[in-house]
Amino acid sequence: MTSLTHLQKLEAESIQIMREVVTETENPVMLYSVGKDSAVMLHLARKAFAPAPPPFPLLHVDTRWKFRAMYEFRDKMAKEMGMDLLVHINPEGIEKDINPFTHGSAIHTDVMKTEGLKQALDKHGFDAAFGGARRDEEKSRAKERVFSFRTAQHRWDPKNQRPELWRLYNTRKHKRESIRVFPLSNWTELDIWQYIYLQDIPIVPLYYAAERPVVERDGALIMVDDERMPLEPGEVPMMRKVRFRTLGCYPLTGAIESEADTLPAIIQEMLLTKTSERQGRVIDHDSAASMEKKKQEGYF
């Protein structure tokens, strides 16, 4: 009997979780943030239900501030996959023109991401939402269960989580409660890259190192992705060879200087790194334990 590799074990576990959710819930949805984890999750979903397409739609909670390359990639993938793609933008955010520059990262994230997500889940009545969060990203994500239960108000109570012994998942929930499901919980960033490499999964080109126009903001390299990025008087962006370990709203996502322009080079870089990919996210530094607070309020 041949034993499975660690990636095959992780893949099998993720597929089991996805099938469990489809069996046990009425109206699941897969949150699609266009990043590498979403790409892997989508690939796993297609494997889990092949040859049929996955029996749930994709939901992108848009903030209007993602990288242009992400929007291009999202539309291309939706067309190729033949899956329903729901895009939700918080209408209140549009009306008030909420943006990371004038309102700050905390308000922008709260209105456009947290509230936007809650609105979209309520609007379509989804009772389970797949997400691509991993335990190695951030400490509050590390303690969250694979099946993370949310109240009718989408709140998370980290002190009231269900045990998940021997990969047995208790999926019972009260009416109007919902579940956030994390099939990639036990994957690491390196696992994700190795899997992308082995399975030849398409990803947004921003993950590969290339010369891009960047400015420095509080030690972070912020890419000037469009003309909405306000520059200081006399500021001239520099072209630097950078790549992104994580993708979000472009004014809130820091790039890293890198020469890794191929998947093997990225994997090599991952082997040597000692920091989490979330280090590049400005929103994670808003305050102490800011991720846990945001999650309690309904953030992904």
């Binding site: 500021e235 520099m238 072209m239 630097r240």
Partner: protein, 283 residues
């Protein structure tokens, strides 16, 4: 004294015992070179390697090496290479000199040049104080290299036949301008802005951001900054280049800045049609 007859000449041989290794470290390079020349003369006279080694008090491999060098390069090739570092190669910059150098690098040269050459830096340090040791331009170049402040020019002409997007860029945007410069007597420069990444060598200052220009024959002109350059810095660079050439046309192939986002620089370029700025595309 024992004599050995060989061909036409009698050569006195001493009774030194020849070993495979004959210590020559104690000899000055001049003395060693004299013995090597003597060994070659003996070999030309027909003596064997062993006989020559015995007579010249050298080891057999040294005799063979000198003989081989002579056969390949003549009498001039026999001498050993000078020992130790070449003059100016050592990091002889003291703390004070290094600080002075950084201070100069952080500012524009007084003579209106668009950047510092290693010679100009050496002269500036020398003129600064008599108490300071005056480093050679070569020493400064080695220091710049150690600080990752000595970028190589882009091999532009090699792009002429490349079929990639950068080859097309060269043929369509750079070549016509360079030809125009040749016709009108203008000058062509390469340059850019970059962030230095000194590796194992500890950086001597906070000057990580570097302007660099390569003029004729690849001579490097540079200036360093502690922070990302502002529009004023770029404009001062361009203005100094124009002033040096008294308004004659200039083509600058520039890498590392995103000028499209700077209205000040776009406006300046409109006002100075003699200055042709060509941005290197991202690659």
């Amino acid at each position: 004294m024992h004599y050995q007859h060989y061909r036409t000449r009698l050569i006195p041989l001493n009774n030194h015992h020849v070993t495979a290794t004959m210590p020559t470290k104690h000899l000055s390079p001049e003395m060693l070179n004299e013995r090597r020349r003597q060994a070659v003369r003996l070999r030309l006279d027909g003596y064997t390697v062993a006989e020559t080694a015995r007579h010249a008090e050298l080891s057999a491999p040294t005799v063979s090496a000198a003989w081989k060098a002579f056969r390949e390069g003549g009498w001039g090739a026999i001498d050993v290479k000078p020992r130790g570092r070449r003059s100016g190669q050592g990091d002889v910059l003291g703390d004070v000199e290094r600080r002075t150098l950084c201070r100069f690098l952080a500012d524009w040269p007084d003579d209106g040049a668009p950047g510092w050459t290693s010679r100009a830096l050496a002269n500036a340090i020398q003129g600064c104080s008599r108490d300071l040791a005056s480093p050679s331009p070569r020493t400064i170049e080695h220091w710049l290299k150690a600080q990752d402040l000595k970028p190589e020019p882009l091999a532009l002409e090699a792009l002429a036949h490349q079929r990639s997007h950068i080859g097309r860029w060269y043929r369509q945007q750079v070549q016509p301008v360079l030809r125009q410069m040749q016709r009108t007597g203008g000058s062509a420069w390469q340059g850019g802005v970059r962030v230095a990444k000194p590796g194992a060598v500890p950086t001597a200052s906070r000057l990580r951001y570097q302007f660099y220009l390569h003029g004729k024959r690849g001579a490097l002109l540079t200036r360093c900054l502690p922070a990302s350059p502002r529009a004023d810095d770029y404009l001062m660079l361009f203005q100094r280049m124009l002033s040096q050439k008294h308004g004659a046309p200039i083509a600058l192939v520039f890498h590392g800045a995103f000028f499209e986002a700077s209205p000040e620089i776009r406006q300046w370029l409109v006002e100075h049609p003699a200055f042709h700025l060509i941005n290197v595309p991202s690659h």
